[in-house]
């Protein structure tokens, strides 16, 4: 997909003015956020499970090469063909090669963020293949020529009215006056149209939520059942996944699955959790004749000996974005690349470079909600701060911003000077503003006063007030 992370600031301006988007996003607090809260309340062990989940992933990452090799051995013994892809280009070409060899014309797809990351659809289409997304949200996004704006709810930026209009525009073979104002009518129409695709498809591509070393399996988690039809009806099943998805055993997977659905949609468990191991067996009545797994690195291994290793624990539940005030205000597309929200702010600079994505770790209020809900306890704000530190250390950023930060850090490390400077500053502002009560504009603070007034200080700094308060309080 096109990267527009560098244009984050103008993306944000457009998003804030987009009334349809704002209407669509307004459902988040009562939707996914409230549902997660309710699910958590129903499971007293939820918080303790987060610690266990973090430890499982930390253990796995410390032995990552070994678990991947063990998984590969088991998968291969069950008849899987395992392909390793150092880069996105390698992964794209491997999948295209599998399709060529199968003489494929029609490819169906279940939801896969890794396939977005490697821009798979465009690559396959350029080779003359028809590629159809079958997750309803992904299908909605595909017929609009857009990309997902959320990692588990790809069409969360769309209103029902927009979807109805898209269906009328896209499905012109159906009666013009058919009713489509209820979600159930939209879903039925999509079901009929995609049924045909499932049945005709030559290759079915899915992602994987986990790989299991003990059994050589890949796991997908869905609610619609589209992933299962995708991988069962085509003669070739291709799993597109990445090195960070492996876990050692079924017991490890059980713990992570308990966290995943609750954190993602607030369900106790997703409707379908499917373990796939190898292609159909000789005695089987159905299932794919070939089963391929493409395992992508694309910059992940390079994080293993950095502070960003922790981000490889991510199980892609989406809770961090659902709870993020920045995501809630601007939606996912503003982030300008595959992974939006706090996880994107930490992961995208690692995968596409800090040059391109430097705005993202700065787009945070550091309110800490993402870290407090992350089932894998990833310290997302701390890692964003680390990117900011690296950005500053590399000499990037505007000259004004850098000098301001330098001046600030000089002052912040000299408390006496700091207190003197703030006392002077506050006293001056107070004297200037006392009669007006607030400033409409201020030199050097245009970023603030363009959008709201700055209340005039009352005359003393917080430190002064605090000192007086302490003196006044009897010990």
């Amino acid at each position: 997909m096109d990267v527009t992370a560098h244009a984050f600031k103008s993306n944000v301006k457009a998003a804030l003015k987009d009334m349809q988007l704002q209407r669509a996003l307004s459902g988040l607090p009562t939707g996914l956020v409230a549902q997660r809260t309710a699910a958590k309340a129903k499971l007293p062990e939820f918080e303790a499970l987060r610690d266990v989940g973090r430890d499982i992933k930390d253990h796995t990452l410390a032995h990552l090469d070994l678990y991947l090799e063990a998984w590969e051995k088991k998968a291969t013994a069950a008849g899987a063909k395992v392909h390793w892809a150092p880069t996105a280009a390698d992964a794209r070409e491997i999948v295209a090669g599998i399709c060529r060899e199968a003489n494929a014309r029609l490819v169906t797809k279940g939801k896969s963020m890794v396939s977005e990351e490697i821009a798979l659809n465009a690559h396959l289409e350029a080779q003359g293949l028809e590629v159809v997304e079958t997750d309803l949200g992904e299908y909605l996004v595909q017929i609009r020529h857009e990309t997902p704006s959320h990692i588990i709810a790809p069409a969360i930026h769309l209103t029902e009215a927009q979807i109805e209009a898209d269906f009328r525009r896209q499905h012109t073979h159906l009666p013009k006056d058919r009713p489509l104002d209820e979600p159930v009518q939209i879903v039925s129409e999509a079901r009929d149209i995609l049924r045909e695709k499932f049945i005709k498809a030559d290759v079915g591509i899915t992602g994987a939520n986990f790989l299991i070393a003990e059994t050589g399996s890949s796991i997908i988690v869905t609610n619609e059942g589209n992933g299962d039809l995708t991988q069962s009806l085509a003669k070739v099943h291709v799993v597109v996944t990445s090195i960070d998805k492996v876990v050692p055993t079924l017991e490890d997977a059980a713990t992570l699955l308990r966290l995943l659905a609750r954190s993602a949609t607030g369900q106790e468990f997703s409707v379908y959790t499917t373990f796939s191991t190898g292609p159909r067996r000789p005695e089987d009545a159905d299932g794919p004749e070939q089963y391929h797994v493409v395992v992508l690195d694309n910059g992940r291994s390079a994080l293993l000996d950095t502070p960003f290793r922790e981000v490889l624990r991510c199980i892609r539940c989406g809770a961090c974005m659902n709870h993020c005030p920045v995501y809630g205000a601007v939606g996912g597309h503003a982030y300008g690349w595959v992974y939006p929200g706090p996880i994107g702010a930490v992961l995208n600079p690692a995968l596409i470079g800090l040059d391109e994505a430097s705005h993202l770790p700065n787009a945070s209020t550091f309110c800490g909600r993402c870290e407090s809900v992350c089932p894998m306890k990833i310290p997302l704000p701390g890692l964003m701060r680390e990117w900011r530190r690296q950005e500053f250390a590399s000499g990037a950023g505007s000259a004004v911003g850098r000098s301001a930060l330098k001046a600030w850090s000089y002052l912040a490390r000299r408390p006496r000077l700091y207190h003197l400077a703030t006392r002077l500053g506050i006293a001056t502002l107070s004297a200037l503003g006392r009669t007006r009560g607030a400033f409409r504009s201020l030199p050097l603070a245009g970023g603030w006063t363009r959008h709201r007034d700055l209340a005039a200080p009352q005359g003393r700094t917080f430190q002064q007030l605090w000192a007086e308060h302490k003196q006044g309080v009897p010990r």
Binding site: F269, R281, A285
Partner: protein, 226 residues
């Protein structure tokens, strides 16, 4: 792409991981012993119950996910229960099923109007009948193993899915169900697909509103026998 290119790519990915992690002693042993047997981690209290309690939890959880749950006293009563459900939903009495030995041993002729076609599902099939190897009370989840006995298309293609499970195969947490699978297939071995099913298919992709019946079955009826 050639095999040697594939081998190079493999070395590149695994080599990059190894060089970043360093190779301390004992890593291989640690990983191998975990794969050979990992005790369950924290298992939620809610599934520690007696058989009656598990049955109740299982049904409550499934119903919360919009499934129908029917208690059937014995195998002999299953044909009547299935026929009654289908009639109640105004559905045809023709079903699709695999060649599951247990389902086959049931005397379906007690309900002469019922018919079962054996084999993988085709798009016109309206009702699928499958037999779950286990059921998990914790979240109201059925565990289906694919194979000639229960082809995976029978679980996903028809609009109505009837899944039968024996009360004796009902366990508390997922870990206990995985142990049953290990007993049946051997440790480290799995059927082509193991499907964990917790309700009829659903989506919330249109305006965040929940709709039951996306691509998989619109209706799920679970019959607990015994």
């Amino acid at each position: 792409m050639s095999d040697s290119a594939a081998a190079l790519r493999r070395d590149k990915v695994l080599g990059a991981i190894r060089s970043r992690l360093g190779q301390s002693d004992g890593r291989s042993r640690t990983a191998a012993s975990r794969i050979a047997g990992q005790a369950p981690h924290l298992v939620p209290e809610r599934s520690r119950r007696d058989a009656a309690g598990l049955k109740e939890l299982f049904a409550t959880q499934l119903r919360a996910g919009n499934a129908t749950v029917v208690a059937v006293a014995s195998e002999a009563d299953l044909p009547a229960a299935v026929a009654a459900y289908l009639r109640g939903q105004n559905l045809p009495l023709a079903m699709r099923a695999g060649n599951d030995t247990w389902l086959r041993a049931i005397d379906w002729s007690r309900e002469p109007a019922l018919s079962i076609a054996e084999g993988p599902a085709v798009p016109d099939d309206e009702v699928g009948l499958t037999h779950a190897v286990a059921a998990v009370a914790e979240t109201g989840t059925l565990v289906l193993a694919s194979g000639p006995a229960n082809p995976v298309t029978v679980t996903f293609l028809p609009e109505t899915s009837i899944i039968v499970v024996r009360a004796a195969d009902l366990v508390g947490p997922y870990e206990a169900a995985f142990d049953l699978i290990r007993q049946r297939y051997g440790r480290g071995t799995m059927p082509r697909t193991l499907n964990l099913v917790s309700g009829p298919s659903r989506t919330a992709d249109v305006g965040g509103r929940l709709v039951t019946g996306a691509h998989g079955p619109r209706r799920l009826c679970v019959m607990v026998v015994g």
